[in-house]
């Protein structure tokens, strides 16, 4: 056995270090941009939240006083509650709907992809534009689409968006209309990964359609469902733009009317401090 080490480990180390340097510098631009734009402001926001800020003036460190003020504010609690209600109600509508659509579409073959495309068109639209569009549909006049429906039933046209009972369901319908199909894509992908033989095996084993769905499809779809639920939760909890548009907050900076402040946590951003509570 030779004991010579012909290639010096140091020489080969240089190669490894070079590769590391190349790798890191290829990642650097993206990383720095993401840190500067997504993380730095969050940290700055947290810093501001510990200070008393009046417009752009920093009037000193106040510790957790802003948070204390926020948690004492009944409106804040109400807003959080409404946000959660909106989010979970929208989820409860969107997920079953998306599942139904996914199962229908994956059974339809080539027409299914046409239908999926059609369903996805609203998702491609801007939330604020969707809001404008639905405002027109919901306009409380016999000439509006919904107004005409009320008139057809002999009722005076209602303004659903200011009706304390119906505003929330209306927002939910519009939000679900806009993006439930996005969840459908992921569920179709998940359904596609379930081996077809399993359905055959289940049929041979004597399971009915519903039983087969419940005992085979649903458990195997769980990972996709989890992804869908988490994506939709984030999406609905942050459904700011749609709600600004629908509830007529109008131009940014004008104080929002009731549904806005009461449905999303971002309502606190109207007073200074987006994710950062402000002292009032």
């Amino acid at each position: 056995m030779h004991t010579i080490r012909l290639a010096t480990p140091r020489g080969l180390d240089v190669l490894a270090r070079q590769a590391r340097l190349v790798g890191s510098s290829l990642v650097a631009p993206a990383l720095l941009l993401v840190i500067a734009i997504n993380i730095l402001p969050a940290l700055y926001g947290f810093y501001l939240s510990l200070h008393k800020v009046f417009f752009f003036g920093n009037e000193g460190f106040v510790g957790l006083a802003n948070y204390a003020a926020l948690f004492r504010d009944p409106f804040a609690w109400q807003a959080i509650g409404r946000s959660l209600l909106f989010t979970f109600a929208a989820l409860a509508v969107a997920v079953p709907l998306a599942l139904l659509a996914a199962m229908g579409i994956s059974r339809l073959g080539s027409w299914g992809s046409v239908l999926l495309t059609v369903l996805l068109v609203p998702w491609a639209m801007s939330p604020i534009v969707v809001a404008l569009l639905w405002k027109w549909i919901l306009v409380p006049s016999p000439g509006g689409l919904v107004g005409a429906a009320f008139t057809a039933f002999g009722l005076p046209p209602q303004d659903l968006l200011t009706n304390p009972l119906l505003a929330m369901p209306t927002l939910i319908v519009v939000a679900v209309w806009r993006n439930f199909a996005f969840a459908t894509i992921i569920l179709i992908g998940g359904l596609g990964q379930i081996p077809r033989d399993l359905a055959k095996a289940a049929a041979v084993d004597g399971l009915g359609a519903w039983e087969s769905f419940r005992k085979i499809t649903l458990p195997l779809l769980a990972p996709s469902l989890l992804i869908v639920i988490s994506m939709l939760t984030i999406s609905y909890f942050n459904e700011v733009q749609l709600i600004i548009g629908l509830t007529g907050a109008g131009r940014f900076g004008r104080p929002p009317p009731w549904p806005m402040r009461s449905t999303t946590p971002a309502s606190s951003s109207w007073t200074r401090g987006a994710a950062t509570p402000s002292r009032r």
Partner: protein, 370 residues
């Protein structure tokens, strides 16, 4: 095929090459010397380090220690592109967005080679003709069969008369029949090109049929290097003895005393070279070297467990109490399961003896590795 091919075949030398991934050595102490034009196979079970070794010649991995020479050039830290080698991958690695023609022409069109298009065309057509792919040049890889893809991968290697061909399990994705056919084609191509080829496989029949030199590896080390015949007839250790052959050599561990080796179900005379070796000795006998011996003097006696009828012969598994051994017997030997059976070595000189501890052979060996 009349085109005169410049013979660019080079030698390859490994000097004490090792590769560590931090947590341990994937391979170490690799010394191999390959003459120009040789067909060398790295053979071993998966994870034995044979692919790592091949990748280090290709430059896809850099050794942690040691030196690799191609011809007179030290390529240890050289980029793959600078080594002038060709490689055929297990997955073929055909470029999916290029036609077969473009795939085969790709190496020639590399900037460093500056091949004029007329010459590219001539070389591609020559390679394609040799492989019988003329009709498929405009197809894309996804439009052709596995065997055809295999040929395209070979064609891409052949167009450029490299110094060394590296083949990483090139036949393992083919079905059995095609594999045997491509095996002969590969052998034919090797002989016609006179190229140095380094072949990695876990399939011993490929290694045995194709190679001038077989390097058996396990656990990142070379177990033995030699011609297929040497490896088969005179394995250097128990690993090689068990690994080669289908089924492998029968190994019987026994106690040496009074010039005989005894253990459960057997009693065999020890040759002179094994008499001084200590008490714990194993004997290895290939299944085809055993014959049916109904006499009371049979060296091995046990009971028949199963008989697999193979037409020209039968594979009989014999239970010795603590282990099963295999024997190829004439189909006329027809014993039911459970019947007692006696076996003796057909040619006592073919029995191999090993140290039970460590597994080293007691017979003399040539070391071809390095």
């Amino acid at each position: 095929m009349t085109e005169a091919r410049p013979n660019t075949a080079q030698s390859v030398r490994f000097r004490n090459v090792g590769k560590s991934y931090g947590s341990g050595w994937a391979v170490s102490g690799i010394n191999i010397s390959i003459a120009p034009g040789q067909f060398v196979t790295l053979l071993g079970p998966s994870g034995c380090g044979k692919s790592t070794t091949l990748n280090m010649i290709a430059g896809l991995e850099t050794p942690t220690e040691g030196q690799i020479m191609i011809g007179e050039r030290d390529v240890t830290a050289m980029k793959p592109a600078d080594r002038d080698i060709a490689m055929v991958f297990q997955s073929y690695a055909l470029y999916p967005h290029m036609t077969l023609y473009e795939n085969i022409a790709f190496p020639l069109r590399a900037r460093r080679r500056r091949t004029p298009e007329a010459e590219v065309d001539r070389k591609v057509r020559a390679a394609v003709k040799m492989l019988g792919l003329e009709a498929l040049l405009d197809r894309f890889p996804r439009q052709i069969s596995g065997g055809q893809r295999q040929r395209v991968a070979l064609g891409r290697a052949m167009v450029r008369t490299p110094t060394v061909y590296l083949l990483d399990e090139p036949l393992s994705n083919l079905d059995q029949q095609l594999r045997v056919q491509m095996r002969s084609e590969l052998k034919d191509i090797h002989q016609r090109l006179g190229a140095t080829m380094l072949y990695v496989t876990h399939d011993q029949s490929e290694a045995m049929t194709l190679s001038d030199l077989v390097v058996v590896m396990s656990n990142g080390r070379i177990e033995q290097a030699g011609s297929p015949r040497e490896l088969y007839d005179n394995p250097a250790n128990l690993f090689v003895a068990r690994f080669l052959g289908e089924p492998g050599m029968n190994i019987l561990d026994g106690e040496a005393a009074d010039g005989r080796l005894r253990g459960p179900g057997f009693d065999i005379a020890l040759p002179a070279l094994a008499r001084t070796a200590g008490r714990r000795i194993s004997v290895g006998i290939r299944p085809e070297d055993l014959h049916h011996d109904p006499s009371a003097a049979a060296a091995i006696s046990g009971t028949v467990r199963t008989v697999e009828y193979l037409g020209s012969r039968s594979l009989v598994r014999v239970d010795l109490g603590d282990r099963l051994i295999a024997a190829f017997l004439p189909p006329s030997v027809d014993l039911p399961a459970g019947a007692p059976i006696g076996l003796s070595p057909a040619d006592p000189d073919k029995a191999r003896f090993f140290e039970t501890d460590g597994g080293a052979s007691l017979h003399a060996h040539r070391n071809l590795a390095g």
